[in-house]
C-alpha cells in the first residue's frame, strides 16, 4: 500500500503544490488501493479510466497555476447522487442500469473544486438501512475486524460504501448522505469523522430522494480539517432546490484549530439512563466529557424530553415520504421494467415494482402507505409532525443553555453481518442517538473517540444549532485533539 494513500487531504494538497508528487500518482495509488480492497465491495461502479484522465488535467492545472481548491483529490461519491453519464443505482435493482444525463449539484460542486471521483460507492438500497446489507450489489464489508476474529462486520449504513472506501484508504474523502444517521453511524463503525450539515445547506437537486424533509448530503474524512475543505466546496445555496437555505457557505477551516475555552457543552443526562447502552459506550461518553472539560469547555445539563419519541416519529415520517418519492419508479420512463408481457398497466406497475425493490424498501413503502392512508393519517402522520415540532423545540430550548450537545453516535460498535436481521426493530435502534438531530434538521458529526475492548472504533456525536457548522467543527476538532494517541486505523491497513 503506497504511503500516498495515508495522507490527509490538507497534506496531499500542500505536497502536490510543493511538487513532491503529481496528482496522477496520487490518483493511481488510490486506484491500486481500490483494486487491493475489492473484497470490501465498497464501490458499485469504478470510474478509474476517467479518473486518470481527470488526474492528468489536474496536473496541467497545477502547472499553469490554475489549480482549484481540491485539485486532484480522489473521492468516492455515494451512488445516491446522480452523476452525468455515469451509472447511478441507489443500490437498487430498480436503477441497476440507470445512466442519468445530469449531475447532482453537490457532486458537481465537489468536482468543480477539482476533486476527482474514482467510483460510486455502495449503499443500502435507496438509503434505507444502517448496515449496508440491503444493497442489490451485495454487502459492504467493514475494513475493521474484532481482535482475534476474522468475522466480517458491517460498516454501518446506509453510506457503508463511502465509509469503507475512506477507512480502507481507497479514497481521501467521500460524499455520503444522512437521513436518520446514515453518515454518523457508519463513521462511528469505521473510525472516521462524518458530518451532516444543517438541513438546507447542501442542495438536494440530483440527489435521489428517500425522505425529502430529512435527506442531507454530508462527508466522510479521516480527520476534521479535511471535512472542512470538502464542506466548503459542497455546501451552498441552489435556486433549483426550494428547501435550499439562502445562506453563504461559511469558511470552516479556521474552526479546526480554535480553542473551545468557555464553550458550553450540553449533556442530555437522562439519555444515559436508557436501556441497552453498553458499558463501553458509557465510558467513552464520560471520558469525552472530561476531555472536553480539560480543554476549557463548560459542561451543562440539558434536557431533550421528547427524544424518546424520536424513533417513532422517524419511522412514520421517513417511510411516508419515501412511499411517495418512490412512486415514480414504475418502469415507464427509466429503470427496471418487468419482462413479462401481456400485462395491463396496473399489472405492469405491480410486477415491475415487486421485482425491482428489495425487502426493506418494500416494507417501508407499505409502512409509509399505511401511515398516510386516510383512516390513519391523523393518528400517525399528522401526530408525528406535531411531535417532531416538539423535538425540534427541545433543541431550541437546550441551545439557550449550551452551544453544542455531546452524546454517543451509536448504541454499539460494528456488529457481524447477518446479526440483527430478524427483527427490523433491532436494526432501527442503531439510529436511536442520531435520529433526534435529523428530525430537527441540525448540523451534527461523529468523531472517533474510543476503541472497544475488541479493538473496534466508537464515535461521539456533536450537535450544534442550525447553520452553526463553524462551532460544530470547532468542538469536533477539540475532541479529536484529545484522542490523538488512539490510532483509528483498521489492522492490516
Amino acid at each position: 500500500m503506497s504511503s500516498l494513500v495515508k495522507l490527509s487531504i490538507e497534506t496531499a494538497l500542500r505536497a502536490i503544490r510543493n511538487k513532491e508528487f503529481k496528482a496522477t500518482e496520487l490518483v493511481e495509488a488510490h486506484i491500486a488501493q481500490a483494486q487491493n480492497t475489492k473484497h470490501l465491495n465498497a464501490y458499485i461502479t469504478e470510474i478509474f479510466d476517467v479518473a486518470l484522465e481527470k488526474a492528468k488535467i489536474a496536473d496541467e492545472n497545477y502547472q499553469s497555476g490554475k489549480a482549484r481548491k481540491l485539485e486532484g483529490i480522489p473521492v468516492g461519491i455515494k451512488d445516491l447522487f446522480c452523476t452525468n453519464g455515469v451509472r447511478t443505482t441507489a443500490g437498487s435493482k430498480m436503477l441497476a442500469n440507470f445512466v442519468p444525463g445530469y449531475e447532482s449539484t453537490v457532486s458537481a460542486n465537489l468536482q468543480n473544486a477539482g476533486a476527482i471521483m474514482i467510483g460510486k460507492t455502495n449503499m443500502d438500497e435507496f438509503a434505507m438501512g444502517s448496515s449496508n446489507t440491503t444493497s442489490y450489489f451485495g454487502n459492504v464489508i467493514n475494513p475493521w475486524k474484532e481482535v482475534g476474529s476474522n468475522d466480517d462486520l458491517v460498516p454501518g449504513g446506509s453510506s457503508g460504501g463511502s465509509a469503507a472506501a475512506v477507512s480502507s484508504f481507497s479514497a481521501m474523502g467521500a460524499l455520503g448522505s444522512d437521513t436518520g444517521g446514515s453518515i454518523r453511524q457508519p463513521a462511528s463503525f469505521t473510525g472516521l469523522f462524518g458530518v451532516k450539515p444543517t438541513y438546507g445547506r447542501c442542495s438536494r437537486w440530483g440527489m435521489i430522494a428517500f425522505a425529502s424533509s430529512l435527506d442531507q448530503a454530508g462527508v466522510f474524512t479521516r480527520n476534521v480539517a479535511d471535512s472542512a475543505l470538502l464542506l466548503e466546496a459542497v455546501m451552498g445555496f441552489d435556486e433549483k432546490d426550494s428547501t435550499s437555505a439562502k445562506k453563504e457557505a461559511p469558511e470552516l477551516l479556521s474552526a479546526c484549530s480554535k480553542s473551545i475555552k468557555g464553550i458550553k457543552i450540553g449533556i442530555p443526562y437522562e439519555l444515559m439512563k436508557m436501556e441497552g447502552i453498553s458499558q463501553e459506550i458509557m465510558s467513552m461518553w464520560q471520558n469525552s466529557i472530561s476531555m472536553l472539560k480539560s480543554q476549557g469547555a463548560e459542561i451543562v445539563e440539558i434536557e431533550l424530553p421528547h427524544s424518546k419519541y424520536a424513533l417513532a416519529v422517524y419511522y412514520v415520517i421517513a417511510p411516508a415520504e419515501a412511499s411517495s418519492n418512490l412512486a415514480r419508479y414504475d418502469g415507464v420512463r427509466y429503470g427496471h421494467r418487468t419482462e413479462k408481457t401481456g400485462l395491463s398497466l396496473d399489472e405492469m406497475y405491480a410486477q415491475t415494482r415487486t421485482e425491482g425493490f428489495g425487502e426493506e424498501v418494500k416494507r417501508r413503502i407499505m409502512l409509509g402507505t399505511y401511515v398516510l392512508s386516510s383512516s390513519h393519517m391523523d393518528a400517525y402522520y399528522l401526530q408525528a409532525q406535531k411531535v417532531r415540532k416538539l423535538i425540534a423545540d427541545d433543541f431550541k430550548v437546550a441551545f439557550q443553555k449550551a452551544q453544542a450537545i455531546l452524546l454517543p453516535s451509536t448504541p454499539s460498535s460494528a456488529f457481524r453481518i447477518g446479526e440483527k436481521q430478524e427483527n427490523p426493530l433491532t436494526m432501527y435502534l442503531n439510529d436511536i442517538f442520531t435520529i433526534p438531530s435529523s428530525l430537527a434538521g441540525l448540523p451534527c458529526s461523529s468523531v472517533p473517540a474510543a476503541l472497544t475492548n475488541n479493538g473496534l472504533p466508537l464515535g461521539m456525536q456533536i450537535i450544534t444549532p442550525a447553520f452553526d457548522e463553524y462551532n460544530l467543527l470547532r468542538v469536533s476538532s477539540a475532541l479529536e485533539r484529545c484522542v490523538l494517541d488512539i490510532n483509528f486505523k483498521p489492522r492490516g491497513f
Binding site: N97, V99, G101, Y102, T198, Y199, G200, E239, S242, A245, K246, H306, K308, Y309, L311, A312, V313, Y315, V316, A327, G331, V332, R333, Y334, R337, E339, L345, D346, E347, M348, A350, Q351, R353, T354, F357, K362, R363, M366, L367, Y370, V371, S373, A379, Y380, L382, Q383, A384, Q385, K386, V387, K389, L390, A392, N423, P424, L425, Y428, A440, G441, A466
Partner: protein, 100 residues
C-alpha cells in the same frame, strides 16, 4: 394488528404484490414496527402545530421564464430496452394499452 384486508388495500395503493408466504412474514415484521410507533399516541398534541418547515423558511418564488428546452435526448436515454426503438421513433413513452 394490521388486517389482511388492509394489507390487500395497501398492496393495491403501493403497487406491490406479496405472495401469501411473504405476506405472513411481512405482516409480522410490520406489526412489530406498528407497535413501536403506537408510542406517539401518548403525546398530547391538542394545541400543537405540525412542523411545516425544517428550518423556518417560506417558499421561494421563481420568475415566469422558459429555461428548459427540448430534453428528449436525456428523457429517452433510459427507456426500457423492450420498447426503446418504438418510443424513440414516436417520441412518446410506451405503456400497455389503457382502456378508459
Amino acid at each position: 394488528m394490521i388486517t389482511q384486508e388492509e394489507l390487500n388495500k395497501l398492496q393495491k395503493l403501493a403497487k406491490l404484490t406479496f405472495s401469501q408466504d411473504e405476506m405472513n412474514k411481512f405482516s409480522q415484521r410490520l406489526n412489530n414496527v406498528l407497535s413501536m410507533i403506537e408510542l406517539l399516541k401518548e403525546v398530547d398534541c391538542q394545541n400543537q402545530q405540525p412542523l411545516r418547515s425544517v428550518c423556518d423558511m417560506h417558499q421561494r418564488f421563481r420568475e415566469d421564464a422558459v429555461n428548459s428546452g427540448d430534453n428528449s435526448e436525456i428523457l429517452f436515454a433510459n427507456v426500457p430496452a423492450s420498447n426503446a426503438k418504438f418510443a424513440k421513433e414516436v417520441k412518446c413513452f410506451i405503456v400497455p394499452k389503457i382502456v378508459e
